[in-house]
Symmetry: C2
Subunit: 342 residues, 2 copies
């Protein structure tokens, strides 16, 4: 019997080793992208991660340089038929008019208050800008954060009858997580308002506010009546984070070129070009909305004209093919769209 | 002899336990700020870290909210008698004139080329702006990065005859490290050029480029002759990261209020006010340059007038005392100034 304790100690060590080996193996066999169908899109993501994180690879990227940028509207969550932030601005109008009753008789606020959706759809770009300026500026940054947070808790998408924050694409959530688990710092680079997205980015995407780059207005430092310092949101545009503004915004806010970038519209073109033009392995991808049943179909898949702003035009599709970007077909590449789907 | 293997296995386990315990204890007993003399400044830093990172503390700060911001010039490294970046711009003038010979006869370039330090000291703010615009803009961001990197490798401070990057304050390097080891994300928030500081921030301070907020010019996205996308630095100021520009820049680039902020001059006043005004434990600190022997003495310690821009005025000192900021005396609080000193 005497040798047993010793054998037992050895066995425990061995068991521990086996457990560790099994754990590693189990981990390696887990599919990091379970909501993706196997195909060139999924394969390109996995291949990119492998070749940039394997130290033996000639395209290895040191951890501190691993930056990946994601457009939000239409890339990470539903943005059709209207941007969520525009919904916020329209739905803020009643509260705004309550605080400033003189606006009730002034256009475009009068039309928004009427609730007449047909008339609202006809509002001009200039009208919309007036509504955005009135609902996104003039308050302190703390007040704005609190208002957006409160709205998000109750507002619902008209089609799915769910909070907007549940309408993120599960396959893209998996890409965010997969990249982060491989040392990538994930950023949102959105044409939407930086302050708006920062309110929920951590909770919804696991992306902290400081990793959100977006269209940004200026703030003004001042003091409240009690002497406390405060920052007030000003109607002054500092960064229009669309088109060329995306790589310019990336340089301003991050200071280095991404290794991977994801978009879905002409507003993302320059970000994808800039990313792909770097040395070594670079991944540029476009989400194509071609799934009318499970989400929406718009852009070239629907034969829409090339001139629509913010859509996936034929010219963009052609550039993607020519420059080696990958196109993600929602219909073919995604097993499911939302986390709430089984 | 038989029990020995078993005992030996047990002993190994025990030894491992002891080693772990000893390691923990040794770590706990290591002074995180060895270049600081014991006193209110050092104690305030240690107390702040303890009360914001101890889960049982009523002032506990969750890890994701732990943001600390540091001015650079005069707070993290020597900025006297001239900002390092201004030295860079002046020393770039010969190369600039080589590329554009027509500038040789034009002021203020002519004066800078002459090397006459007395005449250079008399250059107006407007002249200096011309030199800054000519040496900091007009090239691609990649060209600029390469130029600054090359300059830093050979340029030396005239007093210490050492690279500027060695003239960082060792006690502040320890604060950066100590905060990071306790889950804080450390940022530089500098009145200097964001692109300039980003070139060396990772190597010199362990702070990645994306955690540098500074005065920033715009860039313009375009294409080189070979079709490759490029970003060109433009003579257009987007953010003047001084005074009120510091909290405004923090909101733009980080999006939340810091828990700790460090500065040394009137340009840091609003950042320190804004930080200190937050809820819970907040630490605002000012470095006082009162050590003429080991570094420099300027500001109220020298009885200089309050009106000097970018210095530690009497008014700033009074606000610090009134609002509960801590003043760091280089002379009394720092055991040594630089890492190269024994």
């Amino acid at each position: 019997m005497k040798p047993i304790p010793s054998f037992s100690a050895f066995a425990r060590l061995f068991a521990l080793g086996a457990l560790l080996a099994f754990g590693t193996q189990a981990f390696a066999q887990t599919d990091p992208l379970p909501s993706w169908n196997d195909g060139p899109a999924k394969q390109s993501i996995v291949a990119f991660v492998k070749e940039t994180t394997d130290q033996a690879s000639p395209k290895f990227v040191p951890p501190e340089a691993r930056i990946a940028t994601f457009d939000q509207d239409g890339t990470l969550w539903v943005s059709h038929p209207m941007y969520t932030q525009v919904m916020y601005c329209l739905e803020r109008v009643p509260a705004l008019v309550k605080a400033k009753p003189e606006l009730a008789k002034v256009e475009p606020f009068k039309t928004v208050l009427s609730g007449n959706r047909e008339a609202m759809a006809k509002l001009s770009m200039k009208d919309l800008e007036k509504i955005l300026a009135a609902t996104l500026t003039g308050m302190t940054v703390d007040e704005f954060n609190a208002e957006v947070k409160k709205w998000l808790e109750t507002a619902k998408d008209p089609r799915w009858k769910r909070p907007y924050t549940e309408l993120t694409y599960q396959p893209m959530q998996e890409v965010l997580k997969y990249l982060r688990e491989n040392g990538y710092k994930t950023y949102i680079v959105t044409g939407g308002g930086q302050d708006f997205v920062r309110v929920y980015s951590e909770q919804v995407y696991g992306i902290p506010p400081e990793q959100v780059v977006g269209s940004a207005g200026g703030t003004k430092y001042g003091y409240a009546k009690d002497g406390r310092p405060m920052l007030t949101k000003e109607p002054k545009l500092l960064l229009n984070d669309n088109d060329a503004g995306k790589p310019e915004g990336i340089h301003l806010m991050i200071g280095r070129r991404p290794y991977a970038a994801f978009g879905n519209s002409t507003g993302d073109r320059q970000m994808l070009e800039y990313t792909k033009a770097g040395d070594g392995a670079r991944l540029s991808m476009l989400v194509l909305h071609d799934d009318a049943e499970r989400e929406y179909a718009y852009g070239p898949a629907q034969g829409l004209p090339d001139t629509r702003v913010g859509t996936f035009t034929q010219a963009l599709y052609d550039e993607a093919k020519k420059d080696g970007w990958f196109v993600i077909s929602m219909k073919n590449d995604w097993k499911r769209i939302f986390a709430f789907e089984q």
